[in-house]
Symmetry: C2
Amino acid sequence: MTQTVSPSARQLPASAAVTDNDSAVVDVTALGEVLLGRWADIRRTARDLAGHDELHTPAGLSHHEHRDRVLKQLRYLVDAGAVHRAFPEYVGGQDNHGGNVAGFEELVMADPSLQIKAGVQWGLFGSAVMHLGNREHHEKWLPGIMSLEIPGCFAMTETGHGSDVASIATTATYEPETEEFILHTPFRAAWKDYIGNAALHGKAAVVFAHLITRGVDHGVHAFYVPLRGEDGNFLPGVGGEDDGVKGGLNGIDNGRLHFTHVRIPRTNLLNRYGDVAADGTYTSAIESPGRRFFTMIGTLVQGRVSLDGAAVAASKMALKTAIQYGVERRQFNASSDIREEVLLDYQQHQRRLLPRLATTYAAAFAHEELLQKFDDVFSGAHDTDEDRQDLETLAAGFKALSTWHALDTLQEAREACGGAGFLAENRLPLLRADLDIYATFEGDNTVLLQLVAKRLLADYANEFAGADFGVLARYVVGQATERTLVRSGLRQMVQTVADTGSEKKSAVALRDPKTQHDLLADRVSTMVAEVGGALREARRLPKEKAAAVFNENQHALIEAARAHTELLQWEAFTRGLERITDDGTRHVMTRLRDLFGLCLIEKNLAWYLMNGRLSAQRARTLGDYINRLLAKLRPHAVDLVDAFGYGPAQLRTSLASGEEKARQDEAMEYARLMRASGAAPLDEKILIQRRRQQERAAAKAKGRS
Amino acid sequence: MTQTVSPSARQLPASAAVTDNDSAVVDVTALGEVLLGRWADIRRTARDLAGHDELHTPAGLSHHEHRDRVLKQLRYLVDAGAVHRAFPEYVGGQDNHGGNVAGFEELVMADPSLQIKAGVQWGLFGSAVMHLGNREHHEKWLPGIMSLEIPGCFAMTETGHGSDVASIATTATYEPETEEFILHTPFRAAWKDYIGNAALHGKAAVVFAHLITRGVDHGVHAFYVPLRGEDGNFLPGVGGEDDGVKGGLNGIDNGRLHFTHVRIPRTNLLNRYGDVAADGTYTSAIESPGRRFFTMIGTLVQGRVSLDGAAVAASKMALKTAIQYGVERRQFNASSDIREEVLLDYQQHQRRLLPRLATTYAAAFAHEELLQKFDDVFSGAHDTDEDRQDLETLAAGFKALSTWHALDTLQEAREACGGAGFLAENRLPLLRADLDIYATFEGDNTVLLQLVAKRLLADYANEFAGADFGVLARYVVGQATERTLVRSGLRQMVQTVADTGSEKKSAVALRDPKTQHDLLADRVSTMVAEVGGALREARRLPKEKAAAVFNENQHALIEAARAHTELLQWEAFTRGLERITDDGTRHVMTRLRDLFGLCLIEKNLAWYLMNGRLSAQRARTLGDYINRLLAKLRPHAVDLVDAFGYGPAQLRTSLASGEEKARQDEAMEYARLMRASGAAPLDEKILIQRRRQQERAAAKAKGRS
């Protein structure tokens, strides 16, 4: 349980602060094993598969060609036995939920279009049948879904409603006379939109619609709906459009769907959480319609989990590329006339890449924990309501942060490789284009952070549930006192006195893991308490005014959710250090964790200063300390990206191939030979210097004569 | 002259702080005229042209088709008389440099590939002949360049050297016997790379190479080199490769070129700044090889100027799209059960879009001043060495900031439009993909900021040039005293006392333009002085150690350059306010300027706190004040993007067309009719409420009976 607001409740491992050891060496293989995690074998198999030529896509295909190719690639995955892991054993699966996602997310290295089209087919369409349907549904449809005999759609999003799924407008009205549901799209905004497999390949769909029976709307339910006949044409009443070319993922045929009084049998309702009897009676084991809806949606969390993993994988690829290139590429000659610096020797280049490397490791450790949690819930090992809520909150927060991080990292890596980074053959801009949509699908990231925030506020409220007025008053007084302290500047003075001493001493204090944790956790709990306090007041207001108060705190709330999720990443990184047995590796990785923590603190330094958590004096040492940390990590940068374990078959970019080094070496060797043979032309500057010397000598000689 | 470090030397207009006037109305037409600036007519013509169907490119073309289409579009520009403005009158031009760029940068609205291919042909290839060649060269080649009879390349960048042009390795060795230069590529890293028009269409090139004559290397010069014969094949000794598909700009045939002992006549040297006589004697009016090189390169500043303008135009397009969509799209229902909020009513949505709108205005005003300066220099109106240096520094800084800003804004706009924002038909992701490379071509942005920093340091050094030790000592003492004050916390205490009063009072102080300017300018000069001080010390060290000191300060230096350029943008925005005559418009625009300034201060708030420039108390009011400013600007958001003056022909996205509003209105009308006719199904929640009421009533009745 990592979701509580109170920092004291969290487990903090007792890993010691780094002591200086500049001869430390990273054991790349051992670190790679730690990163591979619990499903190492499946990851290895999936990486090998992702390296197969058949699963790669040459640049420059039209979207028509790309769509065809990816459909074929899906069949290749079926033949390779790569798509069945999550499904029940009684239809030929393995009931292995965590392993399935681990394997799936590695496919991003082959082609994100392939990954996402596979995700639509087996992760969304297939999962919906599995999680929302009954065993009859499974036996009827899952074999065809697994074999790709039935390519299908997950028809949830509507043009008029994106992340607000509860507000979709498609209806499924039950007619007892015929024992059929009548599926209907009432207006243009209710068309299903951006639906993978809808434009061309989908033969069926799981359609989300409001279930109406006996004049009552029971909320959003899922229905299995045939879309196209054997001839590939839409069935009567079904219509649609092609979404056309997109900013990326053009191997997927996204499209729109609409339904005009389309009839489906009563038994096509995926009825695990709500059912309609032949006479139209509605029944559900979950009484509250709201809770029922969130339970149904919650079963589909796997999409977010796997996007988190895919985003981490793409970030790893970007950093391996840019860092390898950064130690091969020479540019400008600051310290020598004949040998230029490699890019990664420049402080600014370190600043651009190494903090992103630290964040990638943090996100990787966090993802492994998320995957574990996901498996615990879906295997039934730990499947309480609270587990499911934790899982959902973690998936929302991590997915939001890691997908944004991947976009940022791919872009920075692209720029760090200059013009070469822009070529399709080097993949960075194409990967970035494909991953762009990860920031808003499976839940818009901003909306997801609000989901995290909602949970934080609920935890906050629980602390006061049933509390008598006295407790609350003490809390409020506590808050007020702290604010007074801050406002009066007294707290700063106290810290300033405490910080007296050398700058070095301050820096040492900031690299203590407990200090980092306290600073990060304190910020989260303070921010949540501030917003929570404001919203508590608002509860007594009329709905419209309460909404206004909420809106005035929306930005702060989202920032609190971000801070909370970053803290969880920091904790996961710190726990990850414990799994590293080799001293040298742990030493370097602890520095990297410090870099992650200190960069978070640097990013929010104003908050720490304004709120009296850091003195100005200590804060002033932070930037320089980070710069020194960068210089210390610089020699290990290549080892740290090599531990990601991607080889040429997965990377497929000349930028990480050693080609640049060969070119630079050739140029240096040429210059050396020219100088040695005396064939090098004289530089005009040297000529000018010589002439001046001669003039001075002549003037001198003239003076003497 | 806006380049001085000392803030006191800058002119600050006397525009007053905003007084509250919530009924202010923006005069969209008048504001649009202010934005159109000095070359309004040319901009209008160019926007009209950019709206022509012939210049648009349907999504989904292969890069082969796209390249063909863009070549045809270039011919269309020739026929439209849109490419000649900058060239000399004696070849049919207009000698209108500023107007030419103003017209050129608007073409980004048609298709960035078209803009950049036109830029390669007339802005780089043609400009190089114009600025580096003599009248004979002009009369011989410019007519064919202007008419597109000679599509050509600007062959500067080499695979092994990007932004470090002085280190290119191609050589042009003079042979007096034949009166020819022999152009040669010594190794693979010296291939010209990423060269537009090189893969297919280029018949000639301006090639940059080291000029060697009589055994002396006179540095980089430009040569006119025929590439392909009438049959389209490379001439003997010339070779190359296609760069293939790129992350964007796929309408341009970028490629590589190499030369194996290619002979060109002596007179093909573009000899304005350096010449070789028939006997091999080298002459130049500029004695210093370094200064000569920078003078030559300096004539090509127009590329950076126009990228700055194009980036601003693309940001405007993105914001018009996202803001229009933001006031039409409804999502979630925070304040009402039957009517959802439009996106832009949410505080977070305002936080995402309105500060970027403010930055776009700042960049637009800054660009107009840059263009004016560019025209002053190239028209000869103000063309001193200092003018040229100012121009180069401004172009470097503004281009870096505005191209990054455009990428950031296009991405945020894409995300703010959700899945719809990802469709090619809505252009945002394609524009972003095309503009990606703007961040590193015509000078890598990071390198450009270092160029700005170099100038800041030179200005700083000039302040001490010839200063005796006493002056310097006093300065150092001054610095030390200030640092002591900050360190001891005394300065904060002083400010804390000064800040006593209501939070409102603090906020008012921060919106005073002089306060904003002082805070921004103080940060620049302090940062430059800090780095300057460190580097001053380093000058006495051996080269390698001095380089190490420079490297340790590189990040700080780049941040200083960024801060300086942001200050210049703020000043341009503030001067821009003076050109607005309408009270209501100036009122709203002043608020927008405040938003820009305060967001800059918020971004660097830690610096202001650490350095004792703002008290914690005042700093704590900033976030809330910005949030209130956002709410006040919200009603004017559509007017502010409409003033950009782009219509449907330029925008070409359904997201800004009113289509979303029509869809949302239809949905609301449907719901209204259903309720009115009693056809709406009952919500299950209401059913549950009713049942509970009945149960309670029954229990009550039972109790009574």
